[in-house]
Symmetry: C2
Subunit: 330 residues, 2 copies
């Protein structure tokens, strides 16, 4: 037997997530492997806002918190996954996991990493990178010299969206919640940046792009979305990626329906989930790795040390504690 | 000189349009034509909900009401438009109009009509037909055996949307505001029909399509839209065509933001205007005329006699007075 540490959700979130919502348990994991099985030990865990998504039915009290980890194979009766191999595993907030045939579908190939840090496979060379890549290029379809808006721009997905838009020859407007984040975004090449906590949003959007936006990559949702829609150009494209501003709300936000602006400007709003592009991840990860090697895209991680700190790293996402991708390392 | 009758908007609409908002004036139109000019006399006028669209900036008090008419050339110094020719002219609610070079861009070619009634060029073989054709096929992109929802289904665009969806092998759910309209929709081949005034909308949608809708062609807007979004399937596509339910509102409707359902199901909502497909109208009109000749699509018009009745025909649109396309004939 191997002892696995497991973070479970003690009770459903009410309002903001708090430390007392989680409980660290120990679980016995068999190391008496059957043919095809292997045992993994986590090196890095991803923490992401979507893990909060109670409304998707993903979470049930007394369940292990969901999520992706980067793990090393420590015992194996599966020739495709020999001991020492590293895999991406969607098995939740756990230290050790027995991968049976049933769970094999949660095991993903690693991208070609070269000399890059392994943990990038959970971020820019993984889920958040592919979210930025396919969300911007496939849903927004930005064209050269168009103007792109991205909110939550210093977050795990936003900072990549802005850099890809620059590669594509766009003018990029981003916003974040601290002056330090804004300064960093300017260093990354964002054309216009503002701290949304210090401005009137509508005025700031107007000042940043007097003629409006062709594309809007939305990580925030709620009132931000409704306001930004008023600043779109005709035939504008909006990619709905997340709505972190509302995850902790007890009631759905209310306000003016957005349909007026949509009709008068023939806007498209499309919500997406990066999983719908799963079959093309290898293609996207290859391009992203090249951009990193060529210096066209910079990456950044906010790393928290220690599995015991999973809840605080997760709670920090909603306070804007992270810049770039939030990772917990063993 | 020729005397033209002209319906002008006396003052901006407040709430529902009423007869006293309009005034019938007479205007002198020169028949002393310069080279390239021609004079037209209207045979049929289109009345459409979009004419209400104050928010688009289309309407200004003391302006002629906007809109399309079918007209005969009665004098001409333009060899492309000889006397006796019939044209579609976007010149507003007027009986006689001098077409100068400046106004030529408002003059459209007629579709191939064969033996069909001329007035169809303002409806199924014109703007509302092309709205249905391109809105459904290009924006919703329905696939065989998918389920399509259309509201305002007995209106000028809705009844065509439903019939095209049937041709494409879809299950079609429609709703309208009278039992007579619902009965007619069943005759047209709609699979499920309900009178939205007599049901709980959410329950009726659930009953009509327990597994949800793949496509939703929205003519109504407002709360209907927000409710219907909850009944979409994953990857559902919504074409926002109009929002007649809200045109007379003084304030934009408020309610739950629709973004929750969009994100959890990766929905696409795209607002469109048929003018964006202008370059392809001839293609769409040809297909539509063939479907009519083959008996695959039936057409229907609600014809009001007399130019003096333009306001009442227009006001009737918002009371559900018309079934099919509303036309005023000289």
């Amino acid at each position: 037997m191997v002892k696995s540490k497991v973070w479970i959700l003690k009770k459903m979130f009410e309002g903001n997530a708090k430390a007392s919502d989680f409980e660290l348990e120990e679980e016995d994991v068999s190391d008496n492997l059957k043919d095809g099985e292997f045992l993994i030990e986590a090196l890095h865990w991803s923490v992401d806002p979507y893990m909060r998504s109670v409304d998707t039915g993903l979470l049930v009290p007394r369940n292990c918190m969901p999520g992706e980890q980067l793990s090393k194979v420590i015992a194996s009766k599966n020739s495709s996954h020999p001991v020492g191999n590293v895999v991406r595993a969607f098995v939740g907030w756990r230290s050790h996991t027995l991968i049976t045939n049933v769970q094999l579908q949660g095991i993903g190939q690693m991208p070609e990493m070269g000399d890059l840090p392994l943990s990038l496979a959970l971020g820019i060379l993984g889920m958040t990178g592919m979210t930025a890549y396919f969300g911007l290029l496939e849903i927004c379809q930005p064209k050269e010299s168009e103007t792109v808006l991205v909110n939550g721009a210093a977050g795990a997905t936003g900072y990549i969206v802005g850099q890809i838009a620059k590669i594509k020859g766009c003018k990029v407007v981003g916003c974040a919640g601290t002056d330090a984040k804004c300064k960093w975004l300017k260093e990354l090449g964002f054309d216009e940046v503002f701290n949304y906590k210090k401005v009137d949003l509508s005025e700031a959007l107007k000042a940043a792009a007097p003629d409006g936006f062709d594309c809007f990559f939305d990580n925030i949702g709620g009132e931000f979305t409704a306001t930004a829609l008023k600043h779109m150009k005709q035939y504008g494209r909006v990619a709905l990626c997340g709505h972190i501003s509302t995850y902790s709300d007890q009631e759905p936000p209310k306000g003016e329906y957005p349909f007026y602006n949509m009709l008068s400007k023939q806007l498209k709003i499309q919500a997406f989930n990066v999983m719908q592009f799963m079959s093309r991840w290898a293609e996207g990860e290859k391009v992203m790795a090249e951009w990193i090697k060529e210096g066209k895209i910079k990456y950044r991680e906010s790393i928290t040390k220690g599995f015991q700190n999973m809840p605080s790293a997760f709670i920090g996402l909603f306070d804007g504690a992270n810049t770039g991708k939030a990772i917990v390392s063993a």
